[in-house]
Symmetry: C2
Amino acid sequence: MATGTLEIVFPERNVKCSIFFGEYLRKSLPISRLHEASSIAIISDDNVSKLYGRRLRDDLSHTHKTHLVTIRHGERSKTLDTASRIAKRLSELGLDRNSVILAVGGGVIGDMAGFVASIFKRGIRYFQLPTTLLAQVDSSIGGKCAVDTSWGKNQLGTFYQPEGIFIDLSVLDSLPSREVVNGVAEIVKSGIIAERTMFEDIERSSDLFEVNRLKGFVPRTVAIKAGVVQADEKEANVRKILNYGHTVGHAIESSSNYRLSHGKCVILGMLCEGWIARKLGIFDESDYLRQSNVLERIRSSHKIVTPVDPKIILSFAALDKKNVSGSIRMSLPEKLGVMSPGDNGSYAIPISKDIFLDSLLCLNKQKV
Amino acid sequence: MATGTLEIVFPERNVKCSIFFGEYLRKSLPISRLHEASSIAIISDDNVSKLYGRRLRDDLSHTHKTHLVTIRHGERSKTLDTASRIAKRLSELGLDRNSVILAVGGGVIGDMAGFVASIFKRGIRYFQLPTTLLAQVDSSIGGKCAVDTSWGKNQLGTFYQPEGIFIDLSVLDSLPSREVVNGVAEIVKSGIIAERTMFEDIERSSDLFEVNRLKGFVPRTVAIKAGVVQADEKEANVRKILNYGHTVGHAIESSSNYRLSHGKCVILGMLCEGWIARKLGIFDESDYLRQSNVLERIRSSHKIVTPVDPKIILSFAALDKKNVSGSIRMSLPEKLGVMSPGDNGSYAIPISKDIFLDSLLCLNKQKV
């Protein structure tokens, strides 16, 4: 079991986010981290609440006034309306500016709880206890909070750092494989964008989805993300590399009306964006083929199907937050472990609509 | 006519808000300040739009892709639902992360536009062009943005600094007196909390509401607010002095269902909070009487009536964002121009419910 602490520090703002590894769910939270809170609101969903939320509430109630606020599970809850209902409940429960929020759940809960924390009485402290692989390696880290809207995913939100993130790898022992693939996509992405040796370890893994193997990759992936976020919190430049596979991936996800899981969409997205990078002469050919092999292995083992109409996917990509003056931008790899800074160091390379559409066709071929 | 520039600087975050004084409405905006914008969205209300919004849009259209987004005037528009509808419209208009928002209007527009800017694609740049006295001396400055909710005023929001604030004193030539009293309350407050000489100039004014006299007080009030905000952006301590009169004032405003204007409520709020400060032995007696004289003069000249049931007012005060663990906190004056830091330097003094209720009774007396 990994233990220890990682820190993301923004010294110029006197802001620090500590990432703790330990057994928080079966044992207990290091409550000294929360001890100045006037009260605690655990925000969770109906599924996770039964597994962990109630027990944590009972545990924390020994030392703090603790409330459990539960929303319906799933991406469809990630709306401004849910945020408003949670905030109303927190107000009824008497939370004040010295209260803290503890998000217990996956990415939807982390985003919702973080967003509510960022706007409740103009901002209160919050902590994350991610209970999915995806939330542990990606969404709980970095302070991005958002809600989905009728016109796209994550269109309204804030950058708001949690004060602490509690990572308990034991949650991985009971995750369904649909959840696991979401996290695996981000683990593979992290290798491609920032750590060649990790990509090679993934490439060599006969079964990437085996739980103990995954547990080994979590702290490495967390460390990569923490480093990138610390270098560029507000995504002015290098943080954009974390979006690799996500420009196409998010557009596929939106156009499937969220029926296709995030991880599967990112796997498809990396196949397309890697193809574009190769086509533009940015991605080294042999590295491109190695990436495709790993991604196609995951794709076939998980029967990831080709999605809907390319033109609809393109229309969703036109809403991507990295776009400038209507042109689609992507972060693209040069080599495994190294992303292209682009002409101006922005890590956002303009992509024509034609090549975007062509890349989607590559998904229809059996082999790239 | 005042000209020149004031700056609020947060060097640790590399954030700067410039406050420009000039003739922006009859002449034109210093567009060099906006020149890197990929497009501009002017956010205004139906009234202000006719007076200034359309002309500004036409003017800015010579150099930028410029849109005008109009909402219904009045505090009732300041909701999460309106924010969501504005954001949807901005998305339809193709605004991206390099676009800027220009708020043209009073406090409601400034708050709405700032809040939308803070959450649209996780934050874009914005500017303020305040068109009421209240917005010029108070709400446009300091980066506080919020919406009202069913459970209280300004309950959801962010701290998000505008990049620039354009103050054009010519708007004061055509403001109705109901609007003027809102700003006058903040001017008087600024003297009480931070500048004794300004309070004395107010005290000596035979007609405080005369337009040219008011124009002289605007830059002084702006400078006071700018200095306080720069010292404590997130209201950890000294910024709380700006809330003088507002703990009671906001509660009266909410309990009147916003029928009583903000300025009138703050005048009543300062009468009550001054009374509490005197009762607790914090406020010097002769200074307290001088404050009461000035406030009662305004109260009688504007026929500010005694509001609704004290217990209902108290129930709204229980939601105040400065409260800690259910106890009401206030910033209170020691002398004219000097606020009490309280025991712990928090500028938030705990107030019992009994003394809060007693202070409201003082409003029923003809003379304090």
